[in-house]
């Protein structure tokens, strides 16, 4: 039983990581109708910025986090101007390919600057974690679960309860109509890119102490986050969270009780099952609602 609880905690922890990265996807899908395959590189860049500020320049850890996140927001704007802006009237596919290109470029740029070796970085807390009965709760996983919950709440409030959120949603649904209604469409899209990049960077900073900082740190996580996004419902915020957590717990339990080498396969089997049985995902909008 204690093993089971331990596995569930680990599953929730890694699931919260998937959920956080998945949130970044959802944002751009909702506000700009862009599937950004550079989302994982946002996380990687955020983590490397923390390495630069904290490990190399020796700035206070929390100040380093704030600096990294702010710079990532600015980077989101540059990313939008170079990757999305020139192709904005060409439809979805050219932009997707452009984000894949950008992600390859970013990986190689970081590889050139920092080399291939992983870098260790401290977590948010000095303590490794706490022992509750037979179960060990790792502090960084606890922090990720709590912060992911807070970010989700914040994102939900912004999208559903503020005028800004409504404008962002209107921009996503119909740019021409939104623009006729006086919504500054360009500004809205730029805000979304900046926020999505900052969020991705923050997710990278949170997972860096667990996974270490390397060029490929976000690879498999980004894929699973995208799967979580589909399982939860394409473009749905609560779906991204629940999809991420479900994926994390399912693959951890599957690995422990069925087969470790097939751990990654469980995640994608789950994706396939959802695509076949419930393609709109857990919280997906029915197509008819949008038409």
């Amino acid at each position: 039983m204690s093993d089971f609880l331990q596995l569930v905690f680990q599953g929730l922890g890694i699931g919260a990581v998937y959920a956080l990265v998945s949130l970044g996807f959802v944002l751009l899908i909702r506000a700009a109708s862009v599937v950004n395959f550079g989302q994982g590189e946002f996380s990687m860049l955020g983590a490397y910025l923390l390495v630069v500020f904290f490990n190399i320049l020796g700035i206070n850890y929390y100040v380093s986090i704030v600096l990294s996140v702010v710079i990532m927001a600015g980077f989101g704007l540059i990313f939008a101007y170079t990757t999305y802006w020139p192709l904005r009237f060409r439809g979805g596919l050219p932009v997707i390919i452009s984000t894949i290109g950008a992600s390859i470029f970013l990986q190689n740029m970081v590889l050139w600057i920092y080399g291939p070796s992983s870098v260790q970085i401290d977590g948010l807390f000095d303590s490794d974690g706490i022992q509750v009965g037979e179960v060990f709760l790792a502090s960084q996983y606890l922090a990720i679960i709590v912060l992911a919950a807070l970010l989700v709440l914040m994102q939900y409030l912004i999208f559903e309860k503020t005028l800004l959120g409504k404008k962002l949603q209107a921009t996503s649904q119909d740019k021409e109509m939104a623009s006729l209604l006086g919504i500054p469409v360009v500004t809205m899209i730029m805000i979304t890119f900046a926020y999505s990049s900052a969020l991705g960077g923050f997710a990278g900073i949170l997972v860096a102490p667990i996974l270490f900082v390397s060029v490929n740190m976000a690879g498999i996580i980004t894929l699973k986050a995208f799967a979580a996004n589909i399982i939860g419902g394409y473009g749905s915020i609560p779906g991204a969270i629940l999809g991420g957590l479900a994926l994390g717990v399912a693959e951890t339990l599957g690995a422990a009780y069925i087969s470790v080498p097939y751990k990654d396969a469980f995640a994608f089997l789950m994706l396939l099952a959802f695509l076949m049985v419930r393609p709109q995902g857990l919280f997906g909008e029915k197509i008819s609602e949008k038409a």
Binding site: D3, I14, V17, P116, A255, A256, V260
Partner: protein, 378 residues
Amino acid sequence: MLITRRSALLSAAATSTFAIVSGRARAADTMKIGVVSPLTGPVAEPGRIQLNSVRLAAEKINAAGGVLGQQVELIVEDDQSTNPGAVLAFSRLAERKEIVGFVGSIRSTQMNAMAPDMLKVGKPVMFGGTDPTLTKLGNPWLFRCRPNDSYSGRVIVSFITDSLKLKKVALVHSTDAFGTGGKNAILANLEKKGMQPVLVQGYTNNQPDFSPVVLAVKSSGADVIVSYFTNEPDCAVFARQLRQLGVRTPWVGSPSIQSPVTRGLAKNALYGTYAVADFVEDSNPTAKAFADTYRAKHKESPDSGWTYDALTILAKGINDAKSTEPEKIRAAILAIKKFAGTEGEYNFDQFGDGLHGYNVVINNNDKIDYKEHIEFTD
């Protein structure tokens, strides 16, 4: 880090160009040895140390009078850290007829890729890849200067049973070619001793979470963990989760668990663990002297000495043969016995394997201490 990497690349590129230019200027005066080395790409960093080491060997040989009265000159080609890059690099070297022998790659896959061309060229190639089959390809020109992987499994099992006196083995391995090869070697050697592991657990590379593996180890009742990790971050994540979940079982691993990168990532989670290692500074006087010279020149400690041994042995082979004829050099290298190298004592067998044992080291609070050397004669 930025500066080191760039300057390393620049200096490597500059020196190799220089070698080629000066080589043409005085073609007849020098004994030319081709070197395939990763100057660019992901393994350029360890490649730099290997290149420095082979240059150090050339300097020492030249200071002692060279080979057959000629100074050794290295012709370096970049393998770009890839298999196609290695094939291209070797073919560039192969075109130069005046080259008498080669120093190949530490990567078994690159050696496999280059081996057909090496067979065609028909000149001795000293290499470091540890896939046991490389010397069994029927290619008479390959000479290995590191112990092959069949010995790492043998040494681990022998260390566990004879030195640690432990019996219940939990085996954790990557499911890739390296990890599976290691697993098979451990299982075969355990079986020879009439033992069965209590757990055999494979995992796929690049895992963010190892808790299912750790819990499996914990509940297996093992008294020793044996591991074959391919990627350093995987090893570090496993080590930390192992300690977090309270497992303190002795742990003997393949060489990657004592690499500086893994230790930097895992910190105290790896203290007290054992590893097999081919190059250990304190394992013999030759290694110690080499490391001291290297440090004096490059202000850092070398993590490998095989390229130094490779060139030294090739030069000895040519000198012993008193000829640059490939067949004679080959016979001379195969005749080398009880030769003290940095990686251990070389006793070439009929297949071209020079080394037949490994060192065991222990991580004492991040300091790698030499524990013992286990050598096999059969």
